[in-house]
Symmetry: D2
Subunit: 301 residues, 4 copies
């Protein structure tokens, strides 16, 4: 089990007309992620509305800010207990056996134009053994070609752009990997949250974007930008691509300042809480069992 | 009330390896659409699996076809009882009041890159009175610019392509209208089904693609290609765009033949069943009341 | 006649391997532009090679810089004597009468994808009276839609992008206007140089990009971004689009600093030298007569 | 030496307003290509105007056709005497030594967006030995990825599209190869003409598009689609890409029928005329010596 203390601080300058915001910065409640001790501070006397999407568990916070500065401080303690699998045992699921929910994630989306990449993906990955290793081959293909460079892409940049221009940030790596997976009929979705353990050269903790792929009967985490330690990712949302799970969507005249993220992993060996680390097993945030039952089960073994 | 006899006949030639199919040709069961007397004939001894997406009501049929010809005949009787509203009474819903389900439809999708059209849409439609009339202005803007021409677009064509090249088929008109609506924060989704009453010059009845826009508290039908009579549209599916609700998605080596669609509208004045016709009211396939309750309510008034 | 004192100062930081440069910062010698008192200072002991393209008169300076700082100072005095025409007398030239040289400028180029805009241009401008006024209508169409904003476009941005996103800098205005002219078969080319008289809000004098259109039997200046006074433009180069006449193209690892441009217009009423000003006549930098002959002719009248 | 009897037959149906045409179907007169016995038959009493571009030697025929059928028959005898080089002896030319004329062909053009492919090309080909073998590596890279399939691309398709979709015809192979060469600073241009010796499965002789690359001090032929025998290519034109050298550009309402091409290679061993065949040497249509001088020189050796 992993325990992360999370703080997110956002600052905006809102124009005279006010502005609407949709945030996705609340970690999702999932079978593998337990969120507690949540605190939310707002510098304006507005009452945010937080709703949970029943399909994804994403929590969206909407509010209408008035003119002037809006500062938001969100903090929580997040426990992560990943479902772990041996990569070699994870197979792809044929189209006719995919759960309907997963089927939606083989279709193209705004930033993942898999429909244009069918031949390319088939040429590159069509002959590979179908399973976790093929997904890993796609991940490595992306990582080998694309160079991580800040400020080279923007909010319109799509997988096809990244394939051509071979440069981008975590979001672009994720979009390209997703598009290539879908092009060979493997369901893949976009996940957002916070990173952990990233190289110090990349700066302080930050929002992160990565990939979840459906293998066996679960969604497994992949981190194509390879910049951080997946076991320490707090998950905010999942969706088709960045269009579904922007950290913040603004409607109106707003100046945004750089977000400030703080994540601290706690260690408590007696309680079975260890620091996030790279591991060879495949990690899933999906589990058949509710969080507390899992913890109990873990205690018993 | 409108009653349509529907027949869809699809023919494929499947390669030696067999092929998987996902169809969306079953009309959705909605509060405004009642489907009865369904028949399905398959020329191969395969057992299709039909599942209903709980969010949209879309019915997806999956099957795995063997080598050789696959012929599918689907037939049903569909009753349509639209919810009707006065256009002048339909207002747009501000972001903070949108139901979460509708919020998803203001984001860009594969074929509706609204994120690239914010300034254009704001310049063209930003000053207009917000409500049904603004949506109608967008619909007319699209219809005035785009010319309906077969074989000018393909399955990769997106709203931006159509805006630039100003030519396309019903699907392209729909994508462009949706992208422009979303760019001014009006939820809009893609709807598929069969047309009705199209100009004879366009040929026999066909699959159709059109638009539903969220106004007041419902989704209302718009037909930007302006080729047919919305009251007679049987609805198969709704989604973000064509990526979600293709009539048929094939996985494997398959040759497709032109589909054959037959739709007949029945008239039965005593039972209150009339022929579809153009009307000035806004039509919705959404209703707060189950179909049968609506029919009863109608009987009572 | 107009007389401009021009200074261009460029600074680069070159990596260890050295780098090749191609500059186009020498004003062209044309029948309407006389360049004198040229000075070139280089901070490195390199011998630049300046060549004149016989088709366009563009002067390209090539040099290979060594590691470290490279500073270039170019200065000259430029006299401009535009050929002037009454706009109402300038007609478009039919395809079969275009000089071969002008014919090349109706075809699409990297940043001016006129081939995708045929229908749009025909719909918007196809019914207009053919001549200078139609070109002016295109110029105004572009200026009305596109908003001048720094740092919204980059070196990959093309006319189609600008049409969609409706924002850009002078280069983007020029590309879009050119693409639309070509789409209705009017030869149009990209011109570069320095601006003059731009609004103080846009900062100090700068490199500039504008348009030349073939009407009657000459190329006439248009300034779609509308930010400056065309009579004061010093011309460096003309080409299909920005790909042909970049101010500087670098091959190797180079950091560029912002260029510093100084332009001063001199007045000398006795010698017939006046300050650049907006005028209603159409200005051309093309003339049938060599510069000195023109000055003489002017003296005689 | 190679001798080809060439016939090109074009048929159009012109609308009521008439139409302008620009053709590029006359083989260029070059030092390596001698055109004789030219015949031109037109089914309408129009007087075409044929002009030679002084830079490229391309011959453009312009004419204005009246309503109704227009049939054009062009025939000629073409002798080809390629300059031959040993591939191993051909080196790339550094930027600072490139002739100005060749420099133009390292910049991006409409269908060859080399500016977007810098990183990709550097990653794939940046480490290779610079010379003919690197160009060959690019050619093979393209040929291995792209599948030749008719009717998969259209007149808007560019190198980036082909890179993504990995399918196309000879024109698309050529555009992609050109874009990749330019991205590593090797001048490359688009060449058109007729093919020779193509696999019978591809049908009768046809128009062809291929590539010329500047190596040493000449332009050398490459045929990335690999469908035919370069020694038998009759050359019509060269340009930046297909925008410059379309076989026919039409202005007005015109229906085009499939062109009919006939090419016959003659053999005359005594006169030193042999059939075109694949050879290991690099072939150039550039030569320092006029055609007749070459023939004489050849006679002497």
């Amino acid at each position: 089990m992993v325990r992360i203390e999370l703080e997110v601080e956002l600052t905006y300058d809102i124009g005279e007309q006010g502005a609407d915001f949709v945030f996705n910065i609340h970690p999702a409640h999932t079978h593998c992620q337990k969120v507690s001790l949540e605190r939310l501070l707002l510098s304006q006397p507005v009452s945010p509305q937080v709703q949970t999407d029943p399909n994804t568990g994403n929590r969206y916070m909407r509010l209408r800010g008035g003119p002037g500065e809006l500062r938001i401080l969100y903090a929580a303690t997040v426990e992560l207990l990943h479902h772990r699998s041996e990569p070699g045992e994870l197979s792809e699921v044929p189209i006719h056996s995919l759960p309907l929910e997963a089927l939606n994630y083989i279709y193209p989306s705004r930033y993942c134009e898999s429909d244009r990449l069918l031949r390319l993906a088939m040429n590159e990955f069509g002959q590979l053994w179908q399973g976790h290793s093929r997904v890993q081959a796609i991940e490595e293909w992306v990582r080998r070609r694309v160079t991580f460079t800040s400020n080279t892409s923007n909010s319109n940049t799509s997988a096809v752009d990244t394939l051509i221009e071979q440069v981008g940030v975590c979001r672009d790596f994720a979009h390209l990997m997703i598009a290539l997976c879908r092009a060979v009929n493997i369901p893949a979705r976009f996940a957002t949250g916070t990173d952990y353990g990233a190289d110090i050269a990349l700066g302080p903790p930050d929002f992160h974007a990565y990939v979840e792929v459906f293998l066996g009967n679960r969604w497994y985490i992949f981190d194509p930008s390879g910049t951080a330690v997946p076991m320490g990712f707090v998950r905010f949302g999942t969706g088709r691509d960045a269009a579904d799970v922007a950290f913040a969507t603004m409607f109106g005249s707003v100046v945004s300042y750089a977000p400030v993220i703080r994540t601290v992993a706690l260690e408590d060996r007696e309680a079975g809480v260890s620091l996030p680390h790279h591991c060879l097993q495949a990690l899933s945030t999906d589990s058949g069992m509710p969080y507390d039952a899992q913890v109990q089960a873990l205690g018993r073994t």
